[in-house]
């Protein structure tokens, strides 16, 4: 337990160390982190070291977690909505997952070998892993799951494009016969949004591509009840096969101290905050940083400002006649005062203005393209805009009010852009309308979104088919290399080039990193990593 904490601490401290050393390897990181880095003093308090009470004292209790809404389904393959990861990661497991350093390590896999010069990956499953329905995990289950996942998810599709054949060598061994080398193999099969959860083949046989017939996995908790709008109830799975490694990040041993976890959807933010204040919930999925003083004053609530792991992302539509002009995009990039936008979005102390595109994954920190970032030069922007053919046609900016920080950021940006001569048509939609409209390249110029944590840049969706349609052959070639290359140093070089192109080409605007507010009941301990949503598999409730 103590060890897990240290890992966590390293991870958080690590990243500025890396910021200083640029392309440093992980070994160096650990050294730097160990030397201590006081520069991150503004970081939230580290969780207090676990007390020394005996393991058995920790067992028991019901954890209540307030969600921002109902999960759209309980199928990890199906959605990029992070709420599903928060709920379902306790019940479903992936072949690989992330340790405290965000390295992909085996979870359901026991071993992974790269054979035939990278053209064959052999994955051996752990022995005697049981599903919640009593079946034992076999290669057939894994293959059925991978096949379904790759038919649904973009990442899976990408992987299967280079896989010639999946072969069940024996009960526990799968061979991936590759067409070409694929360096991001483990990364693709790790825990993530729309990740490759392993379901039993028997369940998949009766399920469709859109709906699971049963919620069965191998995780330390099993889904026993889903009453939409009321709760998703998980109970401890007594036959969970514990990994024989110390807990680290999302990997290693999972003690499953809690008897039960109730995930309760509470859509109204004020009601969530009030429930936290009143002690009705132990953990709240998302709290606005504006509620900090309120929650700090509440007794029994521990508040922590997390290190930055997400960023405010303005997606530009490169197919729009206005924004197809590179100079117009440049003018837009030049005009913005990122400081003011972030202040309006999340408030003082909850943002960082750095150019890296995978905050939280410190190993990938790069300042490539920093000269284009946060220029805040409205005069030059006005001049540049005047030199283009922009004729005052309205820039249609879409945003939803359902995510307050995106809404506040967009409104501030609108004011700044109007100052340099843009005409803005702000269009506020509900979430469903926005996600529909953004697929139509004819109806918008920008929309605002949050770019959430990615442990590896290959998972950052900047392909030409992603909304915004950043079509650039050079970039696509670099991305392909990022996927196939296995060597970190080479991958880092490639990523730096992509990041530079991101700022040079201006397909999107990174405004600033968001440091989320974490609010939990003071009695809740050891919630582990938070970047990809916490997992409560080692969490326990103090008496």
């Amino acid at each position: 337990m103590v060890k897990a904490h240290l890992g966590n601490a390293f991870n958080r401290r690590r990243f500025l160390g890396l910021a200083l050393t640029g392309t440093a390897g992980l070994a160096l990181t650990a050294v730097l982190a160990a030397c201590g880095n006081d520069e991150e003093a503004s970081g939230g308090a580290e969780p207090a070291p676990s007390n020394t009470s005996a393991e058995s004292d920790r067992a028991g209790g019901v954890l209540k977690v307030a969600l921002t809404g109902d999960p759209p389904n309980l199928d990890i393959h199906q959605t990029t909505d992070s709420i599903v990861v928060l709920v379902c990661s306790h019940a479903y497991e992936t072949l690989f997952t992330w340790d405290a350093e965000y390295r992909p390590v085996p979870l359901l896999a026991e071993s992974h070998e790269v054979l035939d010069d990278g053209l064959r990956h052999r994955v051996v499953l752990r022995e005697d892993v049981q599903f919640h329905n009593g079946e034992t995990l076999t290669a057939a289950d894994a293959i059925a799951s991978i096949e379904r996942w790759s038919a649904i998810s973009g990442l899976g599709e990408g992987l299967m494009e280079v896989v010639e054949q999946l072969e069940a060598v024996d009960e526990r061994t799968i061979d991936f016969h590759m067409i070409e080398r694929y360096g991001a193999f483990r990364t693709a099969l790790s825990r993530q949004l729309q990740g490759c959860a392993i379901y039993p083949k028997s369940v998949l046989d009766t399920s469709s591509g859109t709906e699971l017939s049963e919620y069965v996995g191998t995780g330390p908790y099993q889904i026993v009840e889903w009453l939409p709008d009321r709760h998703v109830r998980l109970e401890r799975f007594d036959n969970y096969r514990v990994v024989d490694e110390p807990a680290s990040g999302y990997a290693g041993a999972k003690a499953a101290y809690l008897d039960r976890i109730d995930f309760i959807p509470v859509r109204n933010e004020a009601s969530r905050t009030a429930g936290m204040q009143a002690g009705d919930y132990h953990y709240v999925e998302t709290v606005s940083s504006d509620q900090t003083p309120v929650l700090e004053d509440a007794s029994g609530v521990a508040v922590e400002t997390l290190p930055a792991d997400a960023w405010v992302n303005i997606v530009l539509n490169l197919r729009s006649p206005i924004l197809a002009d590179h100079d117009v995009r440049r003018a837009l990039q030049m005009a913005l005062d990122h400081e003011e936008i972030m202040l309006a979005a999340v408030g003082d102390g909850f943002y960082e203005l750095t150019p890296e595109l995978v905050p939280g994954a410190g190993a990938w920190y790069s300042e490539a393209g920093i000269e284009f970032y946060n220029q805040h030069d409205p005069d030059a922007a006005r001049e540049l805009l005047a030199s283009t053919s922009y004729d005052g046609a309205p820039l249609r900016m879409m945003v939803t009010q359902e995510v307050q920080q995106e809404y506040n950021a967009t409104l501030t940006m609108k004011q700044q852009l109007e100052n340099i001569g843009f005409t803005i048509d702000l269009q506020v939609y509900d979430g469903a309308t926005l996600s529909d409209r953004r697929d139509d390249d004819a109806v918008w110029e920008t929309y605002t979104a949050s770019a959430s944590f990615r442990p590896d840049p290959v998972m950052r969706n900047l392909t030409s088919s992603a909304t915004g349609w950043w079509e650039n052959d050079e970039k696509d070639a670099l991305f392909a290399e990022l996927q196939t290359e296995a060597d970190f140093d080479r991958r880092f070089e490639v990523w730096e080039q992509i990041q530079y192109m991101f700022y040079d080409d201006v397909p999107r605007l990174k405004i600033g990193n968001v440091r989320r507010l974490l609010a939990r009941a003071a009695v809740l301990e050891d919630i582990g990593q938070t970047e990809m949503q916490p997992e409560f598999s080692n969490a326990w409730l103090r008496e």
Binding site: P72, R230, R267, N268, D280, T463, A466
Partner: protein
């Protein structure tokens, strides 16, 4: 009478169909589709389109509408896109909290509203009359979500007497049930209490004109006896029936209150379903609420006729 009831029930069918059809077209014409919601924020347009095809959402409305109609005719409301269960099951699950909330709110509204109305009549013309009415109207004039938040802050956060939200079924824990339902019922009850107060007042003032009241006064009965035995009793009938027509308002208020207090009722179901474009659920809820509304209206009309023989059945209720 039986023929009348049957005729009214038959008339309910086209009304429900109209409500369902409005829902069908209004919703299918709104932008947004369930596939995009289901796939989450990072899905690509291709993925969305694939799921749309799998869910059969890309078929033209001209195909979808008759099929929906045919299913409804067989009392099949379809299957929810998100909830992994038939629409009817989802609705039945949520109907209980909503009906409980409405019932408790109604009781609270009557407990507050009726005495206020009666007192206003007894002190007619004095400042007390006005004050009571204004007091009863106070709740009506506050936005119910604001009132709800104030109640939560006071009773759940500051005093810590009651839970801030959530639902506990009566069968699981009766005490917990009433603790959980008290604040939402209060919020909804207070916000509609002005209505019974005003209805009772108006209706009592009408009854006071009647000869039998004058006779009762002439017989030397005390004002209290006249009020309770003659006036209030007779005034209640029209008041109750008019109140019956406002069940729709109650459901509307329930939508907001359920969101604030996080009650898994029909209001939340339908608001959430609009948010994720779960068309079958929205259509189903609309039809069920329409049915409830029509049945309630019919009951009120029948009650009205049964109580007051002067009214002919074919003259009431449109």
């Amino acid at each position: 009478m039986t023929a009348y009831i049957i005729r009214r029930l038959l008339l309910a069918v086209p009304v429900m169909l109209i409500a369902g059809t409005i829902a069908f077209f209004l919703l299918h014409l709104t932008p947004g589709d369930p596939a995009a919601v289901m796939l989450g924020p990072d899905a690509t347009p291709e993925q969305v389109e694939r799921l749309q095809n799998d869910l059969g959402l890309n078929e033209p409305l001209i195909v979808q509408y008759p099929r929906w109609l045919a299913n409804v005719a067989q009392l099949d409301l379809g299957r929810s896109i998100f909830l992994n269960r038939p629409v009817l099951d989802a609705i039945l699950e949520r109907a209980v909290p909503t009906l409980q909330l409405s019932l408790y709110a109604l009781i609270i509204a009557i407990v507050i509203g009726v005495p206020a109305g009666v007192m206003a009549v007894l002190y007619r013309g004095t400042i007390f009359d006005r004050l009571l009415l204004i007091l009863a109207l106070t709740g009506t004039a506050i936005a119910d979500f604001f009132l709800g938040m104030l109640l939560i802050l006071l009773f759940a956060v500051v005093l810590n007497w009651l839970p801030s939200g959530g639902y506990v079924p009566f069968t699981v824990d009766p005490v917990g049930h009433f603790q959980a339902m008290l604040l939402p019922s209060l919020a909804l009850g207070i916000s509609i209490a002005g209505l019974p107060a005003r209805l009772i007042r108006t209706s009592m003032l009408d009854v006071i004109q009647e000869d039998y009241v004058k006779v009762a006064i002439a017989r030397g009965l005390s004002p209290w006896a006249v009020t309770t035995r003659h006036v209030l009793r007779n005034a209640l009938i029209p008041a109750v029936t008019v109140f019956g027509y406002t069940l729709g308002d109650l459901l509307g208020g329930a939508v907001v209150v359920e969101t604030v207090f996080n009650l898994p009722g029909m209001g939340q179901l339908v608001v959430n379903s609009i948010g994720r474009r779960d068309f079958p659920v929205i259509q189903g809820v609309v039809m069920v609420i329409a049915l409830l509304y029509l049945v309630a209206n019919l009951l009120v009309d029948v009650l009205y006729v049964a109580i007051d023989p002067r009214i002919r059945v074919d003259r009431v209720g449109g």
